[in-house]
């Protein structure tokens, strides 16, 4: 059992929780995720590690409520417990294990979409702690869905905020923001890291391919165990089948078969909707 020691809403449908899990906190690195089981009958859902505090032994997760399980988790309160919290899973981001001097030579741009802002935060923070300035774009549909703006400002070199409906910051999607930076403002980037909805990552990759800028994405396919045991998380990268939970979740976005990834994401749609309905009937 893992205690929820902190809970707050970042947006109407996005909740942040600190979970007491010292073993996970001790080993966590940027880019990794956990698997959470809410209760006895719950399913295993993957969530990115959004921050970790080795002193307090806590790990931060940020959850967007989209279906039955994420809603169930979001309803838990401070002092409640998650049945299971396992991790850190997946490989850390590449730069964590690279020669710092090499990393310092590159200019990074992070592109965060919606709830994807949360997993970008520990990455930007890692760069800050290592004395490297990175640019960050945060994008969301509308102003009230922009999260973690202040925290991100503390760790980013330049922070650009954009909303699809123009209600806040730059008016347009993250791809338009990238175009603006690269084409109009003459910014040069060596690596772009894009984390957000699958469809956003796909379009970012289409654009950055045109620019020839290496782009890393964090894939979020359907998972069960998260340890390489089931293959539910299969993705095709560069013509090869990979298990996102152990080979990823970060991959070279230009090599990802996006249409396949998007198609596989919808695999349990019918069952998920039924479960959501059942959940609502219960309430």
């Amino acid at each position: 059992m893992f205690e929820i020691v902190e809970k707050k809403f970042l947006a109407p449908n996005i909740v942040s929780m600190d979970i007491l899990a010292p073993r996970v906190a001790n080993s966590a690195k940027p880019g990794q995720f956990v698997i959470v089981v809410a209760d006895e009958k719950g399913e295993r859902v993957p969530l990115t590690i959004c921050d970790y505090d080795t002193e307090r032994g806590t790990v931060k997760i940020v959850i967007q409520t989209i279906g039955a399980t994420t809603k169930k988790i979001a309803q838990l309160e401070k002092g409640d417990y998650l049945r299971d919290f396992v991790g850190p899973l997946g490989r850390p981001s590449d730069y964590v294990n690279e020669d710092l001097e090499e990393v310092k030579k590159r200019k990074y741009l992070f592109v965060a979409g919606g709830v994807g802002t949360a997993p970008v935060y520990p990455q930007a923070k890692w760069f800050k702690e290592n004395g490297i300035d990175v640019d960050v774009i945060i994008g969301a549909k509308t102003k009230e869905l922009i999260i973690l703006e202040d925290k991100m400002r503390e760790v980013a070199g330049n922070l650009y905020v954009c909303t699809d409906d123009g209600s806040y910051g730059f008016g347009g999607m993250v791809t338009a923001m990238i175009e603006e930076l690269v084409e109009n403002q003459g910014k040069k980037y060596d690596v772009i890291v894009a984390i957000g909805p699958m469809i956003m990552m796909k379009f970012v990759c289409l654009l950055t391919k045109k620019y020839g800028i290496k782009t890393i994405v964090s894939l979020n396919p359907i998972m069960v165990d998260g340890t390489g045991m089931c293959g539910a998380c299969r993705v095709n990268v560069g013509g090869e089948t990979k298990f996102a939970c152990v080979d990823g979740p970060e991959f070279d976005g230009h090599l990802v078969d996006w249409d396949l990834a998007l198609q596989r994401l919808a695999q349990y749609k019918k069952e998920e909707e039924e479960l959501a309905k059942r959940g609502e009937e219960k309430v």
């Binding site: 080993s27 919290f85 991790g87 899973l89 089931c230 293959g231 539910a232 695999q267």
Partner: protein, 467 residues
């Protein structure tokens, strides 16, 4: 009574059991068990024992059952095996003990497995505690994985007085016994759980949700957490795919995914959250126990199921009883057939599977005749779900995060005759050493390793420690 024939055993009616997940075989009553036990000829040369991977003194425990000394039978079994209730249910007896049974020459072999199960179930139901526990010696051993290997090693060492902690990656202990083998063959609450409870009673600590290689490492267990030795029983969990076109279409699953959703996550029950997908027409590729389990699970979820296997019925590696039960339940078989492509519809869902007919050629290294494709014999089978049950190999996670731990070319951890790996103080056994094998072999290897650990620690640190 016809001594050439086995005492029949009660099973659930096939028509009924395809609608539920309850155990198929109901086991012997005491009278039936005694009658069956009396069929044992008590041969002096005991050929059955020689064919048992852990050399259980079979005639001796059967004699005890024949005499109505059931508790005695359970004690005899406990000398050799830590998991008789499990092995009695899932061992491939027909290629082990029962294959060599002298009764089997002219008639049917004695039902050794069913008798083993009877004795173990009887002992559990009557709360008989087998095995003694020695005084605590203060040494700490970490056991990775809670499948048959981990359970056995932990149990043996706890009885020897060790302070044992099991680290399990999943959220429930039991390994394949919990996530792989279905309820209808191996009941979880009544058979598997008591084994886990028994470990806890022996003082074994179980930490679930710990992935060794990620949450902790073998080095951190040895250096920071003060364990004196480590046993790796992490199994062979990595599923194989065929590498044919269309394998990533929606509706193609590994048997591991399908069975894990159903067994570990209990997707077959309305009140559990995990979804499971199974279509109207399912093809299961493979011929082992895993394939039978996946096929019979799909059947129970309401599908029409065909097993596609590239050799003939004679080569099916599954237990004979499972093949028999699968047929009774209405699973179809396409033998000498191999998939070459999975074909999808316009939305990326499986629509059919293209197969080729095979014939048996020259024997391969396993001694079985190699299946070779018959040119031009391709045909299409309409299915909407394909389940791949092609075998598994060890997950590379532990080996890749433990310096100096050597594996062979299949990724299996290399051990010596005491179960010690190429890292001092680190032992291994079960599927992680052999590749996917059997419960009894995992159990046997774990016993060897437990003895190896005991010897290693006592030689290095003495009989006791203050810690």
């Amino acid at each position: 009574m016809d001594m050439f024939k086995r005492v029949p055993i009660a099973v659930q009616d096939p028509k009924e059991r395809v609608k539920n997940f309850d155990e198929v075989c109901l086991g012997y009553t005491a009278e039936e068990a005694m009658a069956e036990a009396k069929r044992c000829l008590q041969c002096k040369h005991k050929p059955c024992v020689g064919n048992c991977p852990v050399r259980i003194d079979i005639p001796r425990f059967i004699k005890a059952i024949a005499d109505g000394e059931f508790e005695q039978a359970a004690h005899i079994l406990a000398e050799y095996t830590a998991l008789p209730a499990v092995c009695g249910r899932v061992c491939p007896q027909e290629t082990q003990c029962e294959e060599k049974c002298v009764r089997g020459i002219k008639g049917e072999a004695v039902s050794i497995g069913k008798l083993e199960r009877f004795a173990a179930d009887w002992a559990r139901e009557n709360n008989i505690k087998v095995g003694k526990t020695k005084e605590k010696n203060g040494f700490k051993v970490a056991v990775i994985g809670s499948g048959p290997a981990g359970i056995t090693c932990a149990g043996d060492l706890a009885k020897e007085g060790y302070d044992v902690t099991i680290f399990e990656a999943l959220h429930e202990p039991g390994g394949v016994l919990v996530y792989g083998i279905p309820e209808f063959r191996l009941p979880k609450e009544s058979v598997v759980k008591p084994e886990i409870e028994n470990l806890k009673r022996l003082g074994v600590k179980i930490e679930t949700d710990v992935v060794v290689g990620r949450t902790v490492t073998i080095d951190s267990l040895l250096n920071d957490e003060g364990f004196h030795a480590v046993f790796i029983g992490s199994g062979a969990g990595l599923p194989k795919f065929m590498g044919i076109p269309g394998e990533n279409l929606n509706g193609v699953f590994s048997a591991n995914e399908f069975l894990t959703r159903n067994n570990l996550m209990k997707a077959y029950r309305e009140d559990y959250d995990t979804p499971i997908k199974v279509g109207k027409k399912v093809a299961v590729i493979g011929g082992g126990n895993v394939a039978m389990d996946a096929a019979r699970t799909a059947l129970r979820l309401g599908s029409d199921v065909t097993i596609v296997y590239r050799r003939t019925e004679k080569e099916l590696p599954a237990r004979v009883e499972e093949v028999h039960h699968a047929k009774e339940e209405g699973v179809k078989f396409e033998m000498l057939t191999n998939p070459v492509e999975i074909i999808g519809d316009e939305n990326g869902w499986v629509k059919s599977i293209k197969c080729i007919r095979m014939e048996l050629g020259e024997p391969d290294e396993s001694g079985r005749r190699r299946p070779v494709p018959i040119e031009g014999s391709e045909f299409e089978m309409e299915v909407d779900t394909v389940i791949m049950a092609l075998g598994t190999s060890p997950n590379p996670l532990i080996a890749s995060t433990t310096e100096g731990l050597e594996v062979d070319k299949r990724g299996c951890i290399i051990v010596d005759e005491n179960g010690q790996t190429t890292r001092e103080g680190v032992f291994a056994g079960g599927d992680v050493v052999t590749g996917s094998a059997t419960v009894i072999l995992a159990m046997g290897a774990a016993r060897t390793a437990a003895a190896g650990i005991d010897k290693y620690i006592k030689e290095k640190y003495g009989e006791k420690t203050e810690a």
